[in-house]
Symmetry: C2
Subunit: 138 residues, 2 copies
DNA sequence: CAGCATCCATGACGATACTG
DNA sequence: CAGTATCGTCATGGATGCTG
């Protein structure tokens, strides 16, 4: 858990799959997706994965995010232990956000999805167009 | 793209990172998360990754999902080309949902996050408890 | 600079009832 | 069995204005 790599357990022995847990009432996957499946968490983690960044820098880099959502999402990520908030008592105050080892680990898993999206989204959108044209053909 | 494996491009040469695209206006990652970051898509993909499943079977397996959301999410996943819908003209009608190669590929990326969630969520929740107790300590 | 407080619109989602 | 249609609720998130 020191670096950004994450090796998932199981699957090699063939006995344990994700299926068993995902439908329990306290399903970890559901909880995780509730948190980082929102509109901005993944983007913020991605920026902080590259370099420590200050509040208004984040706001500039992530186009379209409102101050409210940035602040709110940062708090949530900090509460989850995925990012850190560092205050320097300058005037005016200077606040820097950075990713934690735990956050970097999640980011590593996230990158697989990000890369998939970048490579395959054209196919998804092509499927959408075909689907939308074939009205009634099902 | 035939099996469920997905090898992300880039990163080996060190020049290309996900950063460049993720903040474009038509960011693929944002679009993807808008689609499968919802409450049920990931769960449905996970079930269908195991075996083809019928509508009411899905409803039974995924605890807590409403008929409306199941139907709606299935349509969305089908439109994206991630799952298929097969109708057998029995009486009454028999409908089976199955995952596509594209969907299986996404599922493979998703599993990294699922596994991370199952392993690390206790740490996240521990961080939450510590954070909530340290009121004012920042 | 780094936020918080407030108001408001949208839509995600659930519950219920109905259909081929 | 496999859905559709409608209604109501609540959370997400944007816009705006204010603060230390």
């Amino acid at each position: 858990m020191q670096d950004g790599t994450f090796t998932p357990p199981g699957y090699s022995d063939g006995t344990r799959t994700a299926r068993g847990r995902v439908f329990e009432s306290d399903c970890p996957t559901r909880k995780l997706l509730d948190r980082i499946g929102d509109k901005w968490s993944a983007l913020i983690l991605l920026v902080l994965g590259d370099e420590d960044t200050r509040f208004n820098d984040l706001k500039r880099q992530i186009g379209g995010i409102s101050q409210k959502m940035l602040s709110q999402t940062l708090q949530s990520l900090k509460r989850d232990g995925l990012i850190m908030r560092t205050v320097e008592p300058t005037t005016p105050i200077t606040v820097t956000y950075s990713i934690t080892p735990l956050g970097r680990e999640l980011l590593a898993a996230l990158r697989f999805m990000i890369e998939w999206a970048e490579v395959r989204l054209p196919e998804v959108e092509k499927a959408q167009r075909i689907h939308d044209q074939a009205l009634g053909a099902d």
